[in-house]
């Protein structure tokens, strides 16, 4: 008889097993182990959001680090009115938008690789043109065109598309993160999708 290994639950006394609120309290007192755990929990989402906004891995790395550093230094001003996650997102979003405004239209693509799973996504495969010689080339080309089309949107419109259609955030969450009402989020999303559809017309079936 094979005994199944019991599922390991993290020790609640270690940072990995602590609730977000406890970690934030400890981090506010200067506990860097607690803050390290918070960074590990949100690093992928924060990095991904910034990367999709900039289409540049190096910029996303720098901005994500700066966002976490700024959040740590501003922890004392965090009142707890929203979740730490939303507050952190707001810092990252503002930092990214400020960066993009300073950079203006000088875009330099530094795209990450596409993972293996993309080739097994039926929705994606259906979009690739039959004229494309191989699927790999098709995905790379599609990736480049998609990022270029996103960069043609204004920062607030791009942010809404990234947060909703790529990151899967709700309208409410986006409104809280961006500091605007839900109606604005909806209208920006509609307009941004229209713009994207126009830019990517040759890759989208009518």
């Amino acid at each position: 008889m094979i005994m199944s290994e019991p599922a390991t639950t993290p020790d609640p006394n270690t940072p990995a097993g602590m609730l977000e609120g406890d970690l934030v309290k400890r981090a506010r007192r200067g506990d860097l182990h607690a803050y390290d755990e918070l960074v590990k929990r949100y690093q992928e989402r924060i990095y991904a959001t910034i990367y999709h906004m900039t289409s540049n891995h190096e910029d996303a790395n720098d901005l994500a680090q700066e966002a976490f550093i700024k959040a740590y230094s501003a922890l004392k001003s965090f009142k707890g009115g929203s979740s730490f996650y939303t507050w952190l997102y707001r810092i990252a979003v503002n930092k990214t938008i400020n960066f993009l405004k300073q950079r203006k239209n000088k875009f330099h693509l530094s795209l990450n690789d596409i993972d293996f799973n993309a080739e097994h996504d039926p929705d994606l495969m259906a979009l690739i043109s039959d004229k494309t010689p191989t699927r790999e080339v098709g995905l790379s080309e599609l990736q480049k065109k998609l990022n270029e089309a996103l960069l043609r949107l204004s920062e607030p419109h791009r942010m809404v598309v990234v947060l909703h259609d790529v990151q899967g955030q709700s309208h409410d969450e986006i409104a809280e993160i961006m500091g605007c009402n839900i109606g604005t989020v909806r209208s920006r999303l509609f307009y941004a999708r229209q713009q994207l559809q126009g830019h990517l017309a040759e890759y989208i079936k009518p």
């Binding site: 990095y47 680090q65 993972d115 994606l124 990736q143 998609l146 989208i204």
Partner: protein, 169 residues
Amino acid sequence: MNQSENNFKDLKNLLKLKRHEVPPPGFFNQFSDGVIARIREGESRGAGSFAERLNDSAPWLVRFLRIFEAKPGVIGGFATSLCLLLLFGVVLAERSESGPQNILTASSGQADSLVSSPSLASATTPEFGSADGGIAISTNASLQPVASVFGQPSGAASLFQSASFAPAH
């Protein structure tokens, strides 16, 4: 809204591709270490050096203080000029207080020369005006004794002519 969602179905499928873009392998294993290292670096820098904090808050002051680095002659000259300026200010203030008196003191010499002329003297001062004696009172303020200089009794008071209450002959 459902209609518009359907309109954008292909676009949403295309945007799925963004979710498959991944950073280099192992990137997130080192990411938090980098953040924590930068926070520690910032804390040690902020707590360790007063000069750097001063440089951040008042760079003009740091630039000014750097003028004196390894230049004792410059700082000596600056200190001397400050002392001279202070001394000049004190003297000027003292003169402005005693200025009118000095002017009148200087004019008293002219008055003495005028006194030597009997016609004028008799016309201007009661001392010479009364032939039968009496008290001669000088109304010249500059002839009043100065009690002190810088708040202390001073020998300078003797330089001034004291009021005469002697009977005139």
